[in-house]
Amino acid sequence: MTVDAPRANLPPLSLHVPEPRFRPGDEADFSDLVVPPAGAARRPDTAEPADRFHELAYGLVRVLDDAGNAVGPWDPRLDAEAKRKMLRSMALTRAFDERMFRAQRQGKTSFYMKSTGEEAVSVAAALAMAGDDMCFPSYRQQGILITRGYPLVEMMNQIYSNRGDPLQGRQLPIMYSSKETGFFSISGNLATQYPQAVGWAMASAARGDTRIAATWCGEGSTAEGDFHSALTFATVYRAPVIFNVVNNQWAISSFSGFAGAEATTFAARAIGYGIAGLRVDGNDALAVYAATQWAAERARTNQGPTLIEHFTYRAEGHSTSDDPSAYRSAGEPNAWPLGDPIRRLKDHLIGLGEWDEERHAAMDLELAETVKRAQKEAEKNGILGHGMHQPFETMFEGVFEEMPWHLKEQSDQMIAERKAAGI
């Protein structure tokens, strides 16, 4: 399309449409990605005003170095037992994902989303928070439930929409809800949980409670209005909330550039709002733990919110409905310079003499068995099937606390129609 320019002596404008660096068939090469050395980032006091450490929103908080040593002021100095627990929760999350992905491929459910490569983001954060702090997750934080000990069988019941499903087959698989576990009902609409987390945190503060809230969204969802509304509310009322942006580089097929990553970091979004911003190596479980612990202490002492960007990589497809080979280089996951969170923590523990390959292999085997057992148990309650597990009239329950006449009428109508049709 050409247009007659009214001022032909001026250079024509051009529209910039972002383009990821590698497409299918390209060799992925991240060698020019600047990865600051572990241990280099300063750790401010949790009471320090947010405008004193803007550099942390552009750098990268890292604890584990390339040799697997924990270094620098952000090292949370966890004992070996705590680190093994962290490793185990991440490995269990991955084993669960593998099994449920396969279950979807076997036709036992409609949908699944893995968190492969991003396990540290949810597991280490869950460990750094108090067990009764409230989480408003996105759809890829199953690691929180697993870390907090929510039964795998219940998760699977939900995934299968079977008769044991605590949500009675009403929600898309993996959209868990567990108030008891401090895990808010997952929406599926993006970033809606952000202002909700702020509201919960504001309520907690207004009531003189001690609990804080945390929420997660992907880098792509930071473009939603909810994200910006949430940050505005949080800074205005200094809400005790932790905002986690899981920058896994890809929002389905849209690379992070479509959320603004070519121009700045996601942690830097915090600066405009006057809240603390940290950019963290999301594949470094100890860094995620340390950043979350820091933000939690800040929130709990009425210093207000923190935005943590977890710089990570979505190693697999967006969901079972996605095929990343159609839009990105197949080599990207392996070329990703920040490695794999499980392998990195494992190497660290081995380096400390607190772990070894044999124990790791045995743990993997044991976790696979644990997941398999849970799956068998869950499948006793059935797998996804239309009308198999929930009586048809349950569709009308729970829209309101009490069923109004129009829903009762529609329910009766459906039953009568099915009866008349002989089904």
């Binding site: 949500l167 809800s177 567990s178 929406s187 909700q196 205005v236 829209v399 309101f400």
Partner: protein, 340 residues
């Protein structure tokens, strides 16, 4: 016992929140300008001074945030009453209302609920132009999981608002701002009346409820049933008085859940039905009412159902009174309906 004091609709709404904040310390009010200033229509006046800044507070200008935050507060255990300053501004919050508040109970199987009451002034007749005059109720009645309430008098406004705040489901409470200060007969060129002479401006100072889902028969009659709500209740009442038509006027008060029994009984009695609302016609709530009446009362109907509504245009500023379904349009439609 002395008579209850006279209140206009703003005072009655204010009193409802006051009563509920006194009774239940989980009730909080919030919104743009609602705190120190007490709201652009003064509906929350005095609440911050009485209950403190953590229970009645100003918010940033972001409707997504106001509703999202209210949902989160509800999940914590509070009972928030957010105000959207004008119903015309509610659209940014649509996703939080439609996909979140309205579905939270269902999607979590009761694990979480959204016991929020969203108050918002709606409707025209105040020369508000297209962004301060709309009646968006039909957008919300179309959504499963949210209740829609529209009062037409100070007494009902207070009792319905108390019932809405106590309700454990999300309620959209639309306030007809044209009649905040007095009933309106539809004659914009006559002097404005205040509420003092209206019997429903006697409002008890304490707690009482007007149950959701119950219509009120404003006037009994035999010739025709007129279904209406909000400002239009008064316009309709004044118009049929002027015409001397023996109409039965049903003030719906709650659109969802609807009092279908009252509607059905009345239309079966009169054999004629007219629906009057200010909102745009196509897919408006009148369309739903019309379908329901047709489904239930078809063999009792002696004439086609008539609708008098706003036109399918934006609310025009200078031509406001041509748009508004006032006495002229109601009269013409009524004459036709009664002739058929």
């Amino acid at each position: 016992m002395s008579a209850a004091p006279r209140m206009n609709m703003i005072q009655a709404i204010n009193s409802a929140m006051d009563v509920m904040m006194e009774r239940d310390d989980q009730v909080v009010v919030m919104g743009e300008d609602v705190g120190y200033f007490g709201g652009v229509f003064r509906a929350t006046a005095g609440l911050q001074a009485k209950y403190g800044k953590t229970r009645a507070f100003d918010t940033p200008i972001t409707e997504i945030g106001i509703i999202g935050v209210a949902i989160g507060m509800g999940a914590y255990g509070l009972r928030p009453v957010p105000e959207i300053q004008f119903a015309d501004y509610i659209y940014p919050a649509l996703d939080q209302l439609v996909s979140e508040a309205a579905r939270l109970r269902y999607r979590s199987n009761g694990d979480f609920t959204a016991p929020i009451t969203v108050r918002s002034p709606y409707g025209g007749g105040i020369f508000g132009g297209q962004t301060h005059s709309q009646s968006p109720e039909g957008i919300f009645t179309h959504v499963s999981g949210i209740k829609t309430v529209i009062p037409s008098t100070p007494y009902d406004a207070k009792g319905l608002l108390i019932a809405a705040i106590e309700d454990n489901d999300p309620v959209l409470f639309l306030e007809p701002k044209r009649i905040y200060n007095g009933p309106f007969d539809g004659h914009y060129d006559r002097p404005a009346k205040n509420w003092t002479a209206h019997p429903a401006s006697e409002v008890p100072t304490g707690y009482y409820r007007v149950e959701l889902g119950k219509a009120a028969t404003v006037r009994e009659g035999e010739a025709v049933t007129i279904l209406c709500y909000g400002t239009m209740v008064h316009v309709v009442a004044a118009t049929i008085e002027e015409l001397g038509v023996d109409a039965e006027i049903i003030d719906l008060r709650t659109l969802v859940p609807l009092d279908i029994e009252a509607i059905e009984a009345s239309v079966k009695k009169t054999g004629r039905c007219m629906i009057v609302h200010e909102a745009t016609r196509t897919s408006g709530f009148g369309a739903e009412l019309s379908a329901l009446v047709q489904e239930r009362c078809f063999y009792h109907l002696e004439a086609p159902i008539a609708r008098v509504t706003g036109f399918d245009t934006p609310y025009p500023h200078s031509l406001e009174w041509a748009y508004f379904p006032g006495p002229v349009r109601i009269r013409e439609a009524l004459n036709k309906l009664l002739k058929d």
